[in-house]
Every structure is written in structure tokens, then in C-alpha cells.
Symmetry: C2
Subunit: 228 residues, 2 copies
């Protein structure tokens, strides 16, 4: 039987790589990537293309959402706001927060899914062990599914699924190895494009996951501090 | 007392012009406009700028969402799909439907509103006497407000309001004259940029409103059929 089509949001990082591996078990894949003026746009795009090639994905959509840089306010898109050193005990919303980014991405994904006939949208959001972004919580995705139901054609059935939502980073790393997901092709660093900095929020969460899982991260780092 | 700031979605058509006039009664205005590869993009942009000048709006954001043309499927963005002659008794979703467009626009508006501190987002959607788009119904906007609540910072309070949602086009035309909204600066035609065609869905709804209100539309038309 032919598998249903699913849109997978692939930033090119570790979480979206595992999400693609999970979606691949049950669906035909269509990959969506967003350029939103983030500092590491080029490197992320390469990771996206490499992961798509790995899974032999033919349907790809690259969206230029440069308006995020115009809107500003995030250290990821505004070069005047420095990328913070990670503080994994900080419970505030970090400076890298791009306001309402996931709603923007999901709206684009839903438009595309409705046109190509995809039934699911896979997103690699993580709530448990995350950076504290408000648009990465299950309650947000539940609310978004209601918007999809109300705002698309009556015959359209599209559901957002976030298979990593309650996984700690340690389990994400373990599952990556279980599913042979191409972790060496990914890029997570918010700051650099050649060697990962090892100290931004995204590097810190990733490295802590590897350390907790007792695995070695195959990508190059400038430094790999020990995270608890 | 200083008025709160509101983002107004201004396409440049009749409905968004009245929405701006209503928002202007109670708020400081910030205008958001989307280019999404629609056929009449240039003319709509001029209408946007003219209406902004009329209300002396300084905060303006023009977003290039050309990805809609990539996603395709609408006669508004795909030159291979002809713009239909209006059929005001058709209850199907028309070919001009841009999939999930309003969710995309509202997501962008929410990101901007969160950054500039706007408390409301005004959208000129019309449910009662409309083209039958699923993302123009009150239930859609209610669901979207829930997404905003879940997906923004805890201290952020932003509400989408659609003051025209239940107005028939006749009343929209009447209110435009009541509030001295600059209707002569607007553009509604889906097809032409010099003289409105008079026969696309958007022209038909507009002209019927003027005819029912017993008013004359000041913009130039190629033809003005009588609509019941």
C-alpha cells in the first residue's frame, strides 16, 4: 500500500533529523525549510539538502521568510543582539526567541500540505528539555490543530504531530543511533557555520544530550564543555 | 491618554480600508501589507501606501511572501489558473482561494505585534457576504486567538479582531461613507491594475454592495454589471 504523504519541517538540526527518521518509518516525505535571516542560514541549508538526499526526498520547499529579520528582536536574526552563552538553568525566554516563529512555519506548512495532499506535518519541537520558547509546547500545537481544522477546506485533514515533544535530549540522542539517523549531516549551532561553538543554547543542549547518552557527537566543535 | 497600538492588515481593498477607519477611532495604527505574488500586487501596494498616508501611519511593514506563488493552486498567484467570472450563488470554495492565507498573515502580524507592543490585530475579514473562504470565519479567528495565547510570551496580550465579520457588503459601503474612509484610494479587482474588471468575485461583491447601498463607486471600471 502506498504510504500517506507527510510534510516534515527540517531546520537541519539534530531534532529535525530525528523527526525525519521517525516520519520516514510511516510516511512518504516532503521536506520544508525556512530561511528567516538566521546567522547560520547557509550551513543549515546544506544540512537540509544533505538530509533530504539521505532519505531520497524529492518534494522540497525552501521558503524565504526574510521578513523575520525585518521584524527583529531575536539574537538569531539581529546582528546587534549577541548570541548568549547557554544558561541551561535559566527559566526565562532566551534572547534567541524568534517571536511566534513556529506559528509562521506551521502556517506555511499547512498551506503547502493542503496543496500537495499531505495528511501530517511533523515538527521536531521539544518541550521537556528545551530552550523555553512558548511556541514549543504541546498546548500550542493542540491549539494550532484547531486552527487548521477551522481554516482549511472541509475535506482537508491535516494534523501537526510533534513526536519528540516530551523526550529529554538524552533519549533523542539514543533514538538517533537506534534509527541510524544521519546525525553527522546535521547542524545545530546558532553562531558558527564551520565549527560549532559548543557554548550557545543550541550547542549546549545538544552536547548535554550526547554526554548523558554516553555517545560522541561526530560534528566538529571549537570546544566541548561538560554540561550537567 | 495615549492610545494603544494596533496592527491593521491592509490589503488595499474596500474591507481593509473600512477596518483601518474603525481601528483609527480607538487606536494608534501600524499597517501590515503582504505581497504574495498576486496578479495585482503593484496596484494593491499603491492603495496601501495611499491609505497609510491618509491616516498618517508611520509604522509600516511590507512582507514579501512570494512563497505563496511557489506553493501555487490559487488563481490569484498562478497565471495558469484563470480568474473566474463571479458567481455569487456558488457555495463552493472559489479558485481564488489561497490555501490558509489568513493564518499566514496573522502569524506574521502576531510576530510583529509582539515586537512593537501592539495589543490588537485588526483584519477586514467578512463572513456573511463573502467568497466562502474557510479562513474568513469567526470560528477560525477564535481558534487563532487561542494559538496566540499559547504561542507567545506569558506577558503578551494580543487579540485578533474582525470588526466587519458579520456585516453584509451593503453595510460596509454605508459605514465607509459614515466614517469618511478614503474609498477612492482603494483597489479590489483581482485581475486588472488600471481599470477594475467589474466581473471577478471581488469586483462583483464590491459593486453589489454599492448598488444595494445606492452609492456610486468612485474608482474606474471597465464594466459595471447590475448584481442582485
Amino acid at each position: 500500500m502506498k504510504k500517506d504523504l507527510a510534510v516534515v519541517l527540517v531546520s537541519g538540526g539534530m531534532d529535525s533529523c530525528l523527526t525525519a527518521a521517525i516520519a520516514h518509518l510511516s510516511h512518504q516525505l516532503a521536506f520544508l525549510h525556512l530561511n528567516y535571516g538566521q546567522r547560520t542560514e547557509k550551513r543549515e541549508r546544506k544540512a537540509f539538502d544533505d538530509i533530504a538526499e539521505f532519505y531520497n526526498v524529492k518534494k522540497k520547499l525552501i521558503v524565504d521568510a526574510g521578513y523575520f529579520a525585518k521584524i527583529g528582536s531575536s539574537s538569531l536574526t539581529d546582528v546587534n543582539i549577541p548570541v548568549s552563552k547557554a544558561d541551561l538553568y535559566n527559566t526565562n525566554i532566551p534572547k534567541s526567541y524568534v517571536p511566534f516563529r513556529n506559528a509562521n512555519i506551521l502556517a506555511i506548512a499547512t498551506s503547502w500540505a493542503e496543496v500537495i495532499g499531505a495528511k501530517k506535518i511533523f515538527i521536531g519541537a521539544v518541550e521537556e528539555d528545551s530552550s523555553g520558547y512558548p511556541d514549543c509546547r504541546s498546548s500550542f500545537f493542540e491549539a494550532f490543530n484547531r486552527v487548521i481544522k477551522e481554516g482549511t477546506k472541509p475535506e482537508t485533514v491535516i494534523e501537526v504531530v510533534a513526536p519528540l515533544i516530551s523526550l529529554p535530549k538524552r533519549e533523542i540522542v539514543e533514538k538517533i543511533f537506534d534509527l541510524n539517523a544521519p546525525i553527522g549531516l546535521t547542524w545545530s549551532c546558532y553562531q558558527n557555520e564551520d565549527r560549532a561553538c559548543g557554548i550557545c543554547d543550541s550547542c549546549a543542549l545538544r552536547l548535554r544530550g550526547f554526554q548523558q547518552a554516553g555517545k560522541t557527537d561526530p560534528i566538529p566543535y571549537i570546544t566541548q564543555p561538560l554540561y550537567e
